[in-house]
Amino acid sequence: MDKNISFTLKVWRQNGPKDKGHFDTFQMKDIPGDTSFLEMLDILNEQLVEGGKEPVVFDHDCREGICGMCSLYINGHPHGPATGATTCQIYMRRFKDGDVITVEPWRSAGFPVIKDLMVDRTAYDKIMQAGGFVSVRTGAPQDANAILIPKPIADEAMDAASCIGCGACVAACKNGSAMLFVSAKVSQLNLLPQGKPEALRRAKAMLSKMDELGFGNCTNTRACEAECPKCVSISNIARLNRDFIKAKLKD
């Protein structure tokens, strides 16, 4: 059976992108170990609302690690202490009685704070709009089994495609680079025969969009891979770089 724990919670509050922001400190008492991290914040918010105060704003939706909406920087790690899990999948049994838990938003030039812990990640959508697709019309394409794809290739594409677009890689990177995210999408599509015809153009378009939006360069620190909740591999970045160089040579 899980034990109840009590701890100190330091939460970043910021009223809009221009506000300087500050930490609020709360004492949390008797939180059951089988409470999820976000449910713990629900408890805090319920207490705040009962006291007539405004709740802490944070992004969340599916609460099962797939939508990519939740985005907290907990004790210096994007998505907190667990590996291969998002913030919403962390349970309080991971923390100890008496802990101090610090919660901050993603901090990166590419993701301005909207309020408290909520940030603006529309830059990711813009990168996708620049080339994160196969140009195929809705209609009647050929039979799905007409394209044979060897299982290892399909599996590799699937691994790359499991990126949830959360932004933890950017938050983890000291350069604020979005390379892991971009390379995951480029790899998924460039590995598959359907995506090959546009492979080079895609790599170039998505990368230039990334630069244009103010994300930093990749200097291979591997922090992104270590913090990615879906364990997206840094080998995707190498593949992206190869495709990018090929595209450059063609120009």
């Binding site: 609302v49 099962e64 809705t138 394409p141």
Partner: protein, 660 residues
């Protein structure tokens, strides 16, 4: 004074209806498409695929969603798979069989013609998704892999690991992104539709709240498409994402769109049981687990008592003392019976005292036999991510060897219990997916059209994409062809001003209640009443009590609600309050419909109407119709019932049988 409901089903034999329709419908030529605007609300499978396809065809599209990106729509969470009648496994599948299974699975309460069309376009969906680069699971030979799902005896489900919804949505999202990049679709993220604007009897726009600035904004178009998902969160705890809501659907309903079959709510049999009162949502364990997992409770009541007291574990109970009740009751389908049947069977055992956790509300899902037969590696390959997810939440690893009794190895079983999952009911639409308001269309889970009283696994994804890629882009043209001479609208029209004012007044009212209760606390109370009286086992008496309690909750909401902060800027509590008000109205609608339907069918089980063996007892004499509810001008007034009679031409209506 009965209204005749025209569902516009095309003439001809069932297999030719859609082809005939497409051959004769009106089209809009390319030059005119550029002059026509369409609002699509929602970016789930239905909304994203529709917006992308319509944009690509040349219409000017405005696409809205609540989340910060279209990719986060709740469709992303679907795990198991998507059905199609490809017959790649050569196991006797066909369009007709998929059609038949869906109608039968829906307990003969779906509209035949719609379901046939769904089965017919199912194969195109797979082709389309593969062309987009959706990484479906494959065999070593490079062909697509399949698995089986509840309610079917063939293997027709396509999947991408345990993340099928994610991959399909990302496919639709990338098609949508391409159109946004090309300038045909304009995206409005972190916007919430609060009302639909009707001008001269036609839907001509929406009022949406910018969730960041808190401002109300007006948008006009020639047609409005609602793709806003289901209303499961009326029960507070469900497998739905936190932002799933029925506000857009209720707005349409209040403006006169009929709401069909609200009582048909699906309760999914394999969810992680409720653990405490702080819980915010329930986690689904994919139905695909039933392919290799066996569901059981103890045979002996003393074993159940020991499990409830925590003095025994599942793995302590040997094979001969386990009751695999689904295999016992339904030998032909076993653990793969449809969801409603599996859910009720679990409730039946738990009601009799055989539940296996501390609350007595759980059954076991056990992999011991399959791990022994296939090896842990194969089992993990199939379900590894689900096992991990289960372990993170419960601290129990279902793949772990826990006991050996008389040479038989027993692994930790999972504990599961039914939970609210999907809503078959929804906004009424005709064959063209048009609601009872002209120019207002509804697609995906938010309409009622294809699943009758119960949806089969892997069929919601199919329906969302069928509607968005292959049906609506055709049928909406039949409507828009008349509209080419209608110029773009100004949002200065009095109808827009009035609609915006009504929403503003509502917001002011909510802010001014200044009571003492938080939105969530009232929402939880609503959930308790819904689950208790309008849940899995319903009775006339219970429903009446439920309706009375819902009135009290509405009163409490109206007098006790407290929203901190102001209406300016972002106010998450205010946004939740608006949704809750609509959930209360929705709850009542479910209860009215459930009370009216004096029969048991699919997800709607009235305890008064069951066979001696405890199976659902339909009443085709009196209830072979779609119940359409019409708003009567106020949330306080009971809605009026209209009936769309069901006409079956291709299928003989029978009693559902999953036993032999």
């Amino acid at each position: 004074m009965t209204k005749i409901i025209d569902s516009k089903i095309p003439e001809g034999p069932i297999a030719e209806k859609w082809t005939n329709y497409k051959a004769h419908q009106k089209l809009v030529n390319p030059a005119n498409k550029r002059r026509l605007d369409i609002i699509v609300v929602g970016t789930g499978l239905a909304g994203a695929s529709a917006a992308a396809s319509l944009g690509e065809m040349g219409f000017r599209v405005f696409n809205f969603c609540i989340q910060d990106s279209p990719r986060r729509a709740h469709s992303i969470a679907a795990q198991g798979g998507i059905n199609a009648a490809k017959n790649y496994q050569n196991d006797g599948d066909s369009v007709y069989r998929l059609f038949y299974d869906t109608v039968k699975g829906g307990d003969y309460r779906a509209r035949e013609a719609n379901v046939y069309r769904l089965a017919e376009v199912s194969n195109n969906i797979i082709d389309q998704c593969v062309a987009q680069g959706v990484p479906f699971a494959r065999e070593y030979g490079g062909t697509l892999a399949n698995r089986s799902f509840g309610g079917a005896q063939v293997s027709r489900t396509f999947y991408a690991k345990g993340q099928t919804g994610q991959q399909l949505l990302l496919g639709a999202y990338s098609a949508l992104s391409r159109q946004v990049g090309a300038g045909t679709v304009k995206l409005y993220t972190r916007y919430e539709m609060e009302d639909v604007v009707i001008v001269d009897g036609r839907a001509r726009g929406i009022i949406a709240k910018n969730l960041v600035t808190g401002k109300l904004e007006r948008f006009a178009a020639h047609a409005v498409v609602i793709a806003t998902g289901g209303y499961g969160n009326a029960y507070f705890l469900s497998t739905n994402a936190m932002a799933c809501n029925c506000t857009a659907a209720m707005a349409c309903y209040r403006k006169g769109a009929w709401f069909a079959n609200p009582a048909y709510v699906q309760i999914h049999p394999t969810c992680i049981p409720v653990h405490g009162d702080k819980q915010s949502k329930l986690t689904l364990m994919s139905e695909s687990l039933r392919n290799d997992g066996r569901i059981w409770v103890p045979k002996k009541i003393e074993d159940a008592k020991a499990l409830q007291a925590g003095t025994k574990k599942g793995s302590d109970i040997p094979e001969e003392d386990r009751d695999y009740y689904l295999e016992r009751r339904y030998p032909a389908f076993g653990n793969l019976v449809p969801r409603d049947v599996a859910s009720r069977a679990a409730k039946e055992r738990c009601d009799k005292g055989f539940g296996v956790n501390n609350t007595g509300l759980a059954v076991f899902l056990d992999f011991s036999e399959s791990i022994e037969r296939l090896g842990i590696d194969v089992v993990r390959q199939r379900y590894g991510n689900l096992f991990d997810m289960y372990e993170e939440i419960t601290d129990v690893n279902p793949g772990q060897l826990a006991n050996e009794i008389k040479g038989v190895k027993y692994y930790n079983p999972m504990m599961i219990y039914p939970a609210i999952h999907y809503t078959m009911g929804g906004i009424w639409v005709d064959y063209e997916l048009q609601t009872s308001i002209k120019g207002l269309f509804a697609i995906g889970e938010c309409n009622f059209s294809d699943h009758g009283a119960n949806r089969l696994g892997a069929s919601a994804l199919m329906q969302g994409l069928a509607d968005g890629y292959f049906v609506l882009p055709y049928t909406i043209q039949n409507y828009l062809a008349d509209q080419i001479t209608v110029p773009r609208f100004s949002t200065d029209l009095p109808e827009f001003a009035a609609a915006e004012k009504a929403v503003q007044d509502k917001i002011d009212h909510l802010m001014n209640i200044k009571g003492k209760k938080s939105v969530d606390s009232i929402h939880k109370e609503l959930g308790h009443v819904m689950w208790e009286y309008v849940g899995m086992g319903r009775t006339a008496e219970g429903l009446k009590t439920g309706l009375a309690k819902l009135k009290e909750i509405r009163k409490e909401f109206e007098t006790q609600l407290f929203i901190p902060g102001s209406k300016e800027g972002m106010n998450v509590e205010l946004d939740k309050a608006i949704r809750l008000q609509d959930f209360i109205t929705m709850g009542e609608l479910i209860a009215y419909d459930a009370l009216n339907r004096n029969e048991s069918c699919g997800g709607h089980f009235r305890e008064e109407y069951q066979t001696e063996e405890g199976e659902a007892k339909r009443d085709d004499q009196n209830f072979f119709y779609v119940a359409c509810w019409e708003y009567q001008g106020s949330d306080e007034k009971a809605p009026t019932l209209l009936k769309e009679p069901l006409v079956y031409e291709a299928i003989k209506v029978q009693t559902r049988n999953y036993k032999s």
